[in-house]
């Protein structure tokens, strides 16, 4: 995580808190200024406009959510004696969080990606975060391949993208009239991991 100028950080952190409690459409510049106790002049010194602050805060949330998951995966990897042991910890990390919280963060991620597709500035911010996420996952998958816990025939970057892709894309289920049963989803994901991605024999 790159730490910015202290005042800038205070503004970003206040915006992050407000977005997480109120949802971004309800966060106004007055609310951020009040919560952060930073002056208006200072805010416009650090950000071109209020919209930019909101964008940076949204990307920060995206970054934190991914970093947290990857850290948990790394810890599980380090603390596992066998592949089966590691494997059994994955569903808890990916789907163990309480439902509303998990769903909110998936919807927020979809919004950030949608915004980044329309705004070059946001695209760049997301690109920096996405590079870090990709390298961290590639590193973990490469180590897993060396231990014989991941498919040695697959490209680590393509695997990293595939893992993120189905997790990210499963947000469509939240926006459907009816939902897939979580147990059926986990069974399918486990098959994909077992037969393809984490198939140590290839």
């Amino acid at each position: 995580m790159i730490e910015d100028h202290p005042t800038k950080e205070i503004l970003i952190n206040s915006a992050v808190d407000l977005i997480q409690t109120k949802g971004w459409p309800n966060v106004t510049s007055d609310l951020v200024l009040e919560a952060s106790r930073v002056s208006k002049g200072s805010m416009y010194y650090h950000f071109k406009d209020f919209h930019e602050l909101i964008e940076v805060a949204q990307v920060r949330i995206y970054d934190h959510t991914a970093a947290e998951t990857i850290a948990e995966l790394n810890t599980a990897f380090e603390n596992s004696e066998t592949k089966a042991d590691f494997f059994s910890k994955i569903p808890q990390i990916m789907y163990g969080k309480v439902e509303p919280q998990l769903n909110e963060s998936r919807l927020a991620q979809a919004e950030v990606v949608a915004l980044a597709l329309a705004s070059p500035r946001m695209h760049e911010h997301v690109g920096e975060v996405q590079s870090r996420i990709n390298s961290a996952l590639v590193e973990l998958l490469t180590r897993a391949q060396k231990r014989g816990w991941a498919n040695p025939e697959l490209d680590p970057l393509a695997m990293a993208m595939f893992l993120q892709a189905y997790n990210f894309g499963s947000v469509i289920d939240l926006l459907s009239e009816s939902r897939v049963e979580i147990s059926a989803w986990i069974r399918l994901v486990n098959l994909v991991l077992d037969e393809v991605l984490l198939n140590g024999e290839g």
């Binding site: 979809a110 690109g127 993120q164 289920d173 991605l197």
Partner: protein
């Protein structure tokens, strides 16, 4: 469905969708839509509170069109197969057509309509019913494949439907980082998932 809209609304949405086909979704202006649809400005603002509402609705219906064409393609594909090997071959072809970089426009529109729906209850309802239709079609086709002995009985048809759409949409994440994956390596993973997991083929 588009046919359930008020006729004038439908003209406006159809004109907008057809402009999306030649221009980027962000390049379409209200003047262009008025000219193409031959609807008056007054009429546009009678049916929509602002132009962005028309744009949003049009994106959702564009997703609908995508849903219809995907369902048709999948139905024809399954019908034309006489063996599991046929299905494997046809699906490999389909993966290369739907998962390549060139289909990014469809991915963009699907993601942007999802994001719009998060904060718009009305669009969310429309999108949810279109989403439901697409997922159900995937599930039905997969059930048919299971009945013909080609689909793995271990896989829940609805979960399969969501999973396929999820990685197709989620491939967008590769666009952001400066280093992109090799497309062939991605196709290889998708092939393995379809063949080893969905179709339960022992050695791919």
């Amino acid at each position: 469905m588009l046919s359930s809209l008020h006729p004038t609304k439908r003209l406006l949405v159809e004109a907008t969708i057809s402009l999306f086909g030649t221009l980027g979704v962000d390049e379409v202006t209200s003047d262009m839509v008025l000219e193409k649809s031959k609807v008056s400005k007054g009429s546009l603002y009678h049916h929509f509170s602002d132009f962005s509402e028309l744009l949003e609705l049009s994106k959702v219906y564009l997703v609908s069109e995508y849903v219809n064409s995907t369902i048709t393609i999948m139905e024809l594909l399954l019908k034309s197969c006489n063996s599991r090997q046929d299905l494997v071959t046809n699906l490999r072809g389909l993966t290369r057509r739907t998962q390549n970089e060139a289909s990014e426009r469809t991915r963009y529109i699907r993601i942007r309509s999802l994001a719009v729906a998060v904060h718009s209850p009305r669009l969310r309802l429309i999108l949810a019913s279109e989403q439901e239709r697409l997922t159900n079609s995937f599930a039905d086709l997969f059930r048919e494949a299971q009945e013909r002995g080609w689909g793995s009985k271990k896989v829940d048809p609805r979960a399969m439907g969501i999973f396929v759409q999820a990685y197709t949409i989620g491939r967008v994440l590769d666009e952001f980082a400066p280093t992109h994956m090799d497309e062939e390596k991605w196709f290889h993973i998708v092939d393995l998932v379809i063949e080893k997991v969905f179709l339960g083929v022992e050695s791919a």
